[in-house]
C-alpha cells in the first residue's frame, strides 16, 4: 500500500490493521485508500467530542458498510471527583458540589441530595410546606428548561436547526425565572438541607404567572415545527427501539422507560416534597422509539406548567410562611438576600450578628465553620429527574461531613442502552438514539 502525504488523512499500519487518521477537509485520498483494502468491516472512532450540549462522549463503532454491528461508549472525560470532594466539606456545602453534576438539571441534584440529608437527620416532615412547594415549582421549571435543551439539541443533531432557536428562547425564559428567584441561572445551590436558601422576592408570583402564560403560548411553535413533520418522523419513527424488558434489565428510567408504555414516574408512585397534592398526568407512549420519547418530552412540558400553576396558587396562600426548618442548628444560611451583584449575606443579618447579639455571632460562626452533625446511618433517596431516577446514597458517620455521597445518575445508567438501541441500525440513526436518551455527561462522569 502506498503511504500518503495527505496532511488531512494520513494512515499507519498497526497489529489491528490499517489506522486512518482523518482530521477534516479532503476525504478523497481516504476514500481511495479504503477502497483498496477490500474489507467491509471498519472500526470508526466517533469522538471524544461534544455532540451539541450533551458533553464529551466517545463512541467506538464497528461498521459493515453503513450498518453498525457493534457499539461501545467511552465515558469519563468530564469526571470531576464531586463525590470524593463532598466528603471533605460540610453537609450544606455539598449542595454547591452536587448542583454542578448534571448541569442541565441542577435543582434535581440539589433536591435529591437535600431529601437524603433530611432523611438522615429525621426532619423530613419538619420541612415547611412553603419550602416544599417552592422546591416543586423550581424542579418543574427546571424540567422544562432541561427538556428544552433535549428537544432543541436533539433536533439540531438530526439537522433541524429551527427548533433549537425556539427551544433556547423558551429555556431563556426559565433561566430568567431562576435568576429572579435564586440570583443565578445555572448551578443555583438554592435548595438547602431543611428548606431553600431564601424566600421568593417581592412581586415574583405575578411575574411567574406571566412566564407560564408565555411558555404555554410559545410551546405551540415547536409543536407546529416538529409534530407530524414528515422529515422528522422519518428520522425518528422506529429508531432506537428499546422495549420494556430491555429497559428493566438495563436499569433504564425516565422518558425512555415511559416510551415503552410503562407509566413509571416517582412523582406519582413514590411521592416526595408533596407531589401527591398536585394534579398532573404521567405521559407515556407505546412506540419504544425516538419519536415516542420526543412526544413524551413535548407533552411533559404541559404537565410541568400545570404543576407550576398549582404551586403558584399554593404559594399565594402561603405568603409569609417560613422556607427553612425552625431548628436554628440546621437552618443555614437562611439569612441571604439578593443584592445588586447577586446572592449575598443579608445586611440585616450582618447588622444583628456584628452589632447587637454576640450569641447570634457565635451561633452563626459555629454553623458556618463547623456545620451541623448528622446521625450515623445510610439512606437512599430518589427523585424523578428529567432523565429518570436520580438517586442519592448518603452515608453519615455522625460527623459534620458526609462519609460517602454516591449518586445514581440516570444519564449514566441510560447511556448503557446505546448499544442495545443502535446495533444493527444505520450509522445516521445513532445520533437520534443518543439524543433520545438525553445523556448529560456532567452527570454521567460526575
Amino acid at each position: 500500500m502506498t503511504t500518503f502525504s495527505d496532511p488531512y488523512a494520513s494512515s499507519r499500519e498497526t497489529t489491528e490493521g490499517t489506522v486512518f487518521s482523518v482530521t477534516g477537509g479532503d476525504w478523497d485520498s481516504l476514500v481511495t485508500e479504503i477502497g483498496a483494502t477490500k474489507e467491509e468491516r471498519v472500526v470508526v472512532n466517533m469522538g471524544p467530542q461534544h455532540p451539541s450540549t450533551h458533553g464529551v462522549l466517545r463512541l467506538v463503532l464497528e461498521l459493515e458498510g453503513e450498518t453498525v454491528t457493534e457499539l461501545r461508549c467511552g465515558v469519563g472525560y468530564l469526571h470531576t471527583g464531586i463525590e470524593k470532594n463532598a466528603e471533605y466539606r460540610s453537609w450544606t456545602q455539598g449542595v454547591t458540589f452536587v448542583t454542578r453534576m448534571d448541569y442541565l438539571a441542577p435543582l434535581f441534584n440539589e433536591t435529591a441530595y437535600c431529601l437524603g440529608v433530611e432523611k438522615l437527620l429525621g426532619i423530613t416532615n419538619d420541612v415547611p410546606e412553603r419550602a416544599s412547594v417552592i422546591r416543586v415549582m423550581m424542579m418543574e421549571f427546571n424540567r422544562i428548561s432541561s427538556h428544552m435543551v433535549a428537544l432543541g439539541t436533539g433536533a439540531l443533531e438530526l439537522g433541524a436547526l429551527s427548533p433549537m432557536i425556539f427551544c433556547f428562547r423558551e429555556r431563556e425564559k426559565v433561566l430568567d425565572v431562576f435568576e429572579l428567584i435564586a440570583g443565578l441561572r445555572m448551578n443555583l445551590a438554592y435548595v438547602r438541607p431543611g428548606g431553600v436558601a431564601q424566600d421568593l422576592p417581592a412581586g415574583a408570583l405575578p411575574k411567574l404567572r406571566e412566564t407560564v402564560k408565555e411558555l404555554r403560548r410559545d410551546f405551540k411553535d415547536n409543536d407546529k415545527l416538529l409534530i407530524g413533520n414528515t422529515i422528522w418522523m422519518k428520522r425518528t419513527e422506529g429508531i432506537g427501539y428499546l422495549d420494556l424488558a430491555g429497559c428493566t434489565t438495563l436499569g433504564i428510567t425516565g422518558p425512555v422507560l415511559r416510551s415503552t408504555g410503562m407509566p413509571w414516574d416517582l412523582r406519582k408512585l413514590q411521592p416526595y416534597s408533596g407531589y401527591e397534592n398536585y394534579n398532573f398526568d404521567v405521559v407515556t407512549a407505546d412506540t419504544c422509539d425516538v419519536y415516542g420519547r420526543f412526544l413524551i418530552r413535548m407533552n411533559e412540558l404541559e404537565q410541568s406548567l400545570r404543576i407550576i400553576e398549582q404551586c403558584i396558587d399554593k404559594l399565594e396562600k402561603l405568603e409569609g410562611a417560613p422556607v427553612m426548618v425552625a431548628d436554628k442548628k440546621i437552618a443555614w444560611p437562611a439569612q441571604l438576600a439578593l443584592g445588586g451583584d447577586g446572592l449575598g449575606n443579608s445586611l440585616d443579618h450582618i447588622r444583628e450578628i456584628m452589632g447587637t447579639s454576640m450569641e447570634s455571632l457565635i451561633h452563626h460562626f459555629k454553623l458556618v465553620t463547623e456545620g451541623f452533625r448528622v446521625p450515623a446511618g445510610q439512606v437512599y433517596s430518589a427523585v424523578e429527574s428529567p432523565r429518570g431516577e436520580m438517586g442519592v446514597h448518603l452515608v453519615s458517620d455522625g460527623g459534620t461531613k458526609p462519609y460517602r455521597v454516591h449518586f445514581r445518575e440516570p444519564s449514566f445508567n441510560n447511556l448503557q442502552a446505546t448499544a442495545a438501541m443502535c446495533e444493527g441500525s444505520l450509522i445516521a440513526d445513532i445520533i437520534g438514539a443518543v439524543a433520545s436518551i438525553d445523556p448529560v455527561m456532567g452527570g454521567v462522569d460526575r
Partner: protein
C-alpha cells in the same frame, strides 16, 4: 464509635474542642421483627422462596424507613436471583461502594439499591468484604444494567467483580494508579492565594470531624 482527642488541640491551633476528633461510622445492629410496612412481607417472601435464608442473610436492618439485607458474599448471586425472579425486584439501581477502614476484615462494602416496579417496593442489599480479598461475584448476569456501575465501583474502590464481562476502569484513565474514593486515597489539591492570604487545600484545612 471511637472518639478521642476531644480536648486539647494538637498542631492545628484549633481550640474549638473538635480538633483531631476521630469518628468511625457505626455499624448498627440488626433489627427485630416486626419491621413494619411491607418489610415483613419482603422478609417472609424471601424466607419462603429461599431455604438458605438464615445462612445467607447475616442481618436485617430497618433504619429510617429503609430495609437493608446484609448478604454473605458467597450467597450474593443466589439471593439476587431469588429477589429478581420470585420477589420481582426487576431493577437494580447500581452499586455504591463504601470504604470503612476501621471495620476490620469487612473494610469494603457494596450497596445495591433494588426496585420492584410490580410491587412499588425498595430494598437494599449490602455485602461486606475484607480489603485483603476484595472479590465479589458480579451481578451483571442478573441485572445487565449493573455493568457500568460495577466498573465504576471497581474504578473507585478496587472491588473486583468476578465474572464481569469486561472489568476495566470507566471514569479514571486506564493507567491510573490507586482507587480514588477509598479513604486511604488522599484528596489532593493545591493551596490557593486569596487577597494575600493562602487557603490550604481542603484535606489539609483545620477541620471539624
Amino acid at each position: 464509635m471511637s472518639d478521642h482527642g476531644m480536648f486539647g488541640a494538637k498542631g492545628s491551633g484549633d481550640t474549638s474542642g473538635y480538633g483531631g476528633l476521630v469518628r468511625s461510622a457505626a455499624s448498627t445492629g440488626s433489627s427485630e421483627r416486626p419491621y413494619g410496612g411491607y418489610f415483613d412481607d419482603v422478609a417472609d417472601d424471601l424466607e419462603r422462596a429461599y431455604p438458605d435464608f438464615a445462612d445467607a442473610i447475616e442481618r436485617v436492618v430497618v433504619d429510617r424507613g429503609e430495609l437493608t439485607l446484609h448478604v454473605k458474599r458467597e450467597k450474593l448471586v443466589e439471593v439476587a436471583k431469588i429477589l429478581r425472579d420470585k420477589l420481582l425486584f426487576e431493577m437494580c439501581l447500581g452499586v455504591s461502594g463504601v470504604h470503612y477502614p476501621a471495620d476490620v476484615n469487612r473494610e469494603l462494602h457494596a450497596v445495591y439499591p433494588l426496585l420492584s416496579m410490580t410491587h412499588n417496593r425498595r430494598v437494599r442489599i449490602e455485602v461486606s468484604i475484607p480489603d485483603s480479598d476484595p472479590h465479589l461475584p458480579s451481578l451483571v448476569e442478573v441485572w445487565a444494567g449493573n455493568n457500568w456501575n460495577e466498573r465504576e465501583t471497581f474504578d473507585m474502590f478496587g472491588i473486583i467483580f468476578d465474572g464481569h464481562p469486561g472489568l476495566t476502569r470507566i471514569l479514571m484513565p486506564d493507567d491510573w494508579r490507586g482507587h480514588p474514593q477509598r479513604k486511604d486515597y488522599p484528596l489532593g489539591g493545591i493551596p490557593v492565594e486569596y487577597k494575600g492570604a493562602t487557603v490550604p487545600p481542603p484535606n489539609e484545612r483545620r477541620s471539624y470531624r
